[in-house]
């Protein structure tokens, strides 16, 4: 790739391009080496507190000192194996959904259905396990719980909402339209406030839902409305002939949708669904405004510690990197799916 010809065509094809290239190279050369110095070569990795960071570089010691909290929040140390188990099983719970050529996929799919229940059981506790209140959860654990939990639970809801919106029964479709447009018209923050401040007023005494679950409810409702619009797009893309053929075969409404329409419609909407999921995953960090300590919340708590004052850049860079890994990974996955879907359709048309 990097031949003389390639350089000439892509960097120095004209006078203006040559000038731009030279300016950019100068710009990058003056920015990148100091950046790497700060990030790695001159950074302090281990220190007891802020004063231990004497070098010019980043003070990553704060991350090390708070690593447990970044990963688990305030989950009790003696019970932390449960969180580790949840983390360790996560690939087996998610991969079968994403990777259609996974070995033993059928068996793992069954596990993927059990996994969410297992997560609730392991994290909250129950028969045989001491219970851990959800206000002890935090850091990456809470971010993943809200993000992935919201995405997974909202998925069936968004299908129902999308079908409802396209229903021929006016009352059903009106209810779905109002719900979807209302949720999409207000910011997630107001829904979180709604969950944290108004939900307790709506429910009878004694029926207390904890803060994490209230946030999860808000996140699920939000994602369900956005997902519904994506699924609706997929449903609309289905040729009318598919519906007519299914009806001509005498299939009922649910048979038609479950066996004919949804499998095709969902297949083409997966890339867009993954994109809304990425958006939701980023948005889970909004829970800091209702006082939950997700990754960002733990980071802010670390910044407030007088031992580690004014290390904003280090903490924010660390959290950004974690979010970036997840979101970038998923967006690559959605691109790969799009490409695959395109080639699939091409081969069918041939």
């Amino acid at each position: 790739m990097l031949s003389f010809n390639w350089i000439r065509q892509n960097l120095f094809s004209s006078w203006t391009n040559s000038i731009i290239t030279v300016v950019l190279i100068y710009f990058l050369a003056s920015i990148i080496p100091p950046m790497f110095d700060w990030l790695f070569f001159k950074a302090t990795w281990i220190a007891d507190d802020r004063t231990g960071c004497t070098s010019d570089g980043a003070c990553w010691a704060i991350i090390g000192a708070r690593f447990y909290q970044f990963m688990y929040g305030f989950y009790p140390t003696e019970e932390v194996w449960r969180v580790n188990l949840v983390y360790a099983l996560l690939p087996f719970g998610i991969l079968p959904l994403l990777w259609d050529k996974m070995p033993l996929r059928k068996q793992f799919l069954i596990f993927a259905i059990v996994y969410p229940f297992l997560v609730f059981f392991l994290l909250y506790g129950g028969p045989g396990l001491t219970s851990v209140a959800s206000n002890k959860w935090g850091g990456l654990l809470l971010t993943l719980f809200l993000g992935l939990g919201g995405i997974i639970i909202a998925f069936p809801l968004s299908i129902f909402l999308a079908l409802g919106r396209r229903s021929k029964m006016p009352a059903i479709s009106a209810i779905c339209v109002v719900f979807i447009e209302f949720i999409r018209g207000v910011p997630l923050i107001t829904l979180l406030f709604f969950g944290s401040m108004m939900l307790p007023l709506f429910l009878p005494e004694g029926l207390d839902i904890d803060t994490v679950l209230r946030a999860l409810v808000a996140v699920i409702i939000f994602q369900a409305a956005y997902g519904a619009e994506v699924v609706r797009g997929g449903l609309q893309a289905m040729p009318k002939g598919q519906y007519e053929a299914a009806q001509a075969l005498g299939l009922s409404y649910w048979q038609m949708n479950l066996k004919i329409i949804l499998p095709q419609a969902l297949k083409i909407t997966i890339p867009a669904l993954v994109n809304t999921a990425i958006g939701l995953f980023k948005d889970t960090s909004l829970v800091i405004v209702i006082g939950l300590l997700d990754l960002l919340g733990i980071g802010r708590a670390a910044l407030a510690d007088t031992k580690w004052m004014a290390l904003h850049v280090e903490v924010y860079v660390f959290i950004s990197v974690i979010f970036f890994i997840f979101c970038f990974g998923f967006s690559r996955y959605s691109l790969y799916l799009e490409k695959k879907l395109n080639t699939d359709n091409d081969s069918e048309n041939k």
């Binding site: 892509n10 960097l11 094809s13 391009n17 731009i20 290239t21 950019l24 190279i25 990058l28 021929k168 029964m169 006016p170 009352a171 059903i172 209810i175 209302f182 999409r184 018209g185 207000v186 910011p187 997630l188 923050i189 107001t190 406030f193 709604f194 401040m197 108004m198 307790p200 007023l201 709506f202 429910l203 009878p204 005494e205 990425i278 980023k282 948005d283 960090s285 909004l286 800091i288 405004v289 960002l296 802010r300 004014a310 904003h312 850049v313 924010y316 959290i319 950004s320 979010f323 970036f324 979101c327 970038f328 967006s331």
Partner: protein
């Protein structure tokens, strides 16, 4: 007549709908009952009377409305709404310009340039906005103190209390210049319509863009000088420990502006790129073989077709930016959610009323934006013949 037959679809539909609506109505009734009971038990007042009560707190940033602590909660609402709209409008404009710029750079034939744009897009859109806002805010409040402000061209000063910029002072005669601008815009719209019609009927072309550009710039400029240059700028000056004169833009606003526009611009740039790429290669080749000039191809062939693809997703980005401006609460920007939905709510305890008003307002803003963008969208869509 009416017969009970469960295999009849219409009959089934009526039954199902009655059950669903009935359940929903009962659910709402139950919630209202429980809520009324809970409110009474906790001694929380109801109704919108609190809107007239004095707020009792100060809002530091209110560029349009004078606000003092004795003003009512309704005034808090107005200030919050104004601040939300202000950051949304400015953010949308900046994000659109930046987005188009980056989107075009992404398609540049210079590999290095397009790669830099790519890195920018991937980094900004894969990191939560709230994190970016906190990051900008942290950078801004850790800037040098007022005495050691960073000067940009001797007129803008950046320090840990925000940005000091020149303030435009409009003279009395400035009204004439405003009128002149409005007239020039109306005239140029009429002129371009007339020119288009003439071109369609007779084929005669006029340099529309040039003439319009000249009239919109020069006519107000002439009026400006005739009326005695009624616009001045007051520069900020460092006196003692603080700046005197000029505009003081607080760090919260600057952080919101940077965060919102940089974040949204990366999404818009992808939309613009997709829009331009969607214009078929054949279109450009056909235009080239007709012998059209490059700028004509851009203006008459590529942009009109690309806009059709760009506008609908652009609308949802504007909506997203407006809704995302509610994240100002994380850094203390006194918008609708922070001022009215946050502080007022905590002071009065009337969560239901405050949240209802805030949600209704966002809903109205969202619906208004999509209404106008739909009109614009319809105007540029392909006309079926």
């Amino acid at each position: 007549m009416f017969k009970i037959d469960f295999s009849d679809q219409k009959f089934r539909a009526i039954i199902i709908q009655t059950i669903v609506v009935g359940l929903l109505a009962y659910g709402l009734y139950w919630i209202v009952q429980t809520t009324a009971y809970n409110l009474e038990k906790r001694n929380i007042a109801t109704g919108f009377g609190f809107l007239n009560d004095p707020a009792g707190f100060d809002i530091s940033f209110s560029p349009f409305i004078k606000f003092v602590a004795t003003d009512s909660h309704f005034a808090v609402y107005l200030v919050g709404l104004a601040n939300t709209l202000l950051i949304s409008v400015i953010g949308c404009i900046a994000a659109t310009f930046m987005g188009f710029f980056v989107g075009i750079i992404r398609l540049s034939s210079n590999w290095l340039l397009s790669q830099i744009a790519y890195v920018y897009v991937e980094i900004t859109r894969n990191i939560p906005l709230i994190l970016q806002l906190l990051f900008w805010y942290a950078l801004l409040i850790n800037l040098p103190r007022v005495k050691n402000s960073i000067a940009i061209g001797e007129t803008f000063f950046l320090n840990n209390r925000g940005l000091n910029s020149p303030q435009p002072i409009f003279g009395e005669n400035f009204i004439y210049v405003t009128v002149a601008i409005v007239i020039a815009i109306i005239v140029s719209i009429v002129f371009s319509r007339w020119a288009k019609r003439t071109q369609e009927t007779t084929g005669k072309q006029y340099p529309v863009v040039l003439i319009n550009f000249a009239s919109v710039i020069f006519f107000p400029l002439i009026v400006y000088f005739i009326s005695g240059s009624p616009l001045d700028f007051e520069n900020p000056e460092l006196k003692g420990f603080n700046f005197v004169g000029g505009m003081k833009i607080p760090p919260e606003f600057v952080a919101m502006f940077l965060g919102l526009s940089i974040y949204t611009a990366s999404f818009i740039s992808e939309i613009v790129r997709a829009g331009i790429l969607s214009v078929g290669k054949g279109q450009i080749e056909a235009a080239n073989s007709l012998g059209l000039r490059q700028n004509v191809i851009m203006n008459l062939i590529i942009i009109p077709q690309a806009l059709r693809v760009i506008v609908p997703p652009l609308t949802s980005q504007f909506l997203n930016l407006t809704k995302n401006s509610s994240l100002g609460i994380a850094i203390g920007y006194a918008d609708l959610v922070h001022g009215f939905g946050g502080i007022s709510l905590n002071q009065t305890g009337q969560a239901i009323e405050c949240m209802a008003i805030v949600m209704a307002t966002y809903l109205t803003i969202s619906l208004t934006i999509s209404f106008f963008m739909n009109i614009y969208n319809r105007a540029i869509q392909l006309e079926g013949r």
